[in-house]
């Protein structure tokens, strides 16, 4: 099994989990718990931060896989070109 195919398989698995994010919203509990010493008016909703954290991890992993894929492509094309050049000799 070529590594490029494996890379594509891994990426699609990662993308498959996207629908599960629909389940992230808390089922009715208040979105935040007050921090001590801060008046309730200054509270931040936690959900955007949580989603941003998870999203970053996904995006970072996928970006890295994309860079490997891109570099692998470049190396493979060069190798084929070189192999053709030597075969022609």
């Amino acid at each position: 099994m070529s590594f490029r195919r494996l890379l594509i398989a891994l990426t699609s698995f990662v993308l498959l989990s996207a629908p599960s994010f629909a389940q992230q919203a808390p089922p009715g509990q208040s979105e935040f718990v007050p921090i001590k010493d801060l008046p309730p008016g200054d509270q931040l909703p936690a959900a955007p931060l949580l989603i941003a954290a998870y999203a970053f991890v996904w995006i970072a992993a996928m970006f890295y896989m994309w860079t490997i894929w891109r570099r692998l492509n470049k190396v493979e094309t060069e190798m084929h070109a070189l192999a053709q050049k030597t075969a022609r000799r």
Partner: protein, 222 residues
């Protein structure tokens, strides 16, 4: 490692698909509520980073003292992954801290030393890229120093009073005080470590292909 890669990719994929479901079902932590769920990605990110640093340090040492080319390939792959997982940890942490502590960043022992550790490995990649010929050995020495800082970073929360939770919190959160959170945490941890193994294998394969290409160029000149 090659033969198990296929099934491993499948396992990792399934784990990452399942993770959000399990995490959503985990109980809420009493003082922090929803935002505490970043824990399931934050701690495993750092676990993967530590795995990457260990691999990088050991292979750098092997490369320095035994000059094995394979060790150098593992070192550069693990170095890239250390930066990647460290970045994940450094972004998820402040996102959690903004809610839990009210500030994005604090200059306490754990955060400062973790940032420095990440910077050392970024410097590792910079040396490899811009150091010119022979920079692999220089980078290997840098990696050794970086790996030496890792125990300091880990122990820093236990030695100093910091705003960051202590290491003893992890087993508590994972099993003790929150009965339902052991499973998602174990799953996430294993998923991240396996993700590290998969990415490492892929990256090492890229390095091997690049080495093969260089061999072809050299053979062409003969």
């Amino acid at each position: 490692m090659r033969k198990t890669l296929g099934p491993l990719v499948v396992v990792v994929g399934i784990m990452f698909v399942a993770a959000p479901f399990l995490i959503a079902q985990a109980p809420y932590e009493s003082t922090m509520g929803l935002i505490q769920k970043i824990f399931y990605f934050h701690v495993p990110s750092w676990m993967a980073m530590y795995a990457a640093i260990t691999v990088c340090g050991v292979s750098s040492a092997i490369y320095l003292f035994r000059s094995r080319a394979a060790a150098d390939r593992y070192a550069v792959s693990a170095g890239e992954l250390a930066v990647l997982f460290g970045l994940m940890g450094l972004i998820t942490g402040p996102l959690w801290g903004r809610k839990a502590w009210g500030v994005w960043w604090q200059w306490d022992a754990r955060l400062t030393s973790a940032l420095l550790m990440e910077m050392i490995f970024v410097a590792y990649l910079l040396v490899r890229k811009f150091g010119g010929p022979g920079s692999e050995k220089l980078a290997a020495a840098t990696a050794l120093f970086g790996t030496a800082t890792a125990p300091f970073v880990y122990k820093s929360v236990d030695i100093w009073r910091t705003v960051h939770p202590k290491t003893s919190v992890v087993p508590l959160l994972a099993a003790g005080s929150m009965p339902g959170s052991g499973m998602p945490f174990a799953l996430s941890s294993i998923a991240f470590v396996l993700l590290f193994v998969v990415l490492l294998t892929l990256r090492v394969n890229l390095a091997e292909r690049q080495a093969a290409l260089d061999e072809m160029y050299l053979a062409l000149e003969d």
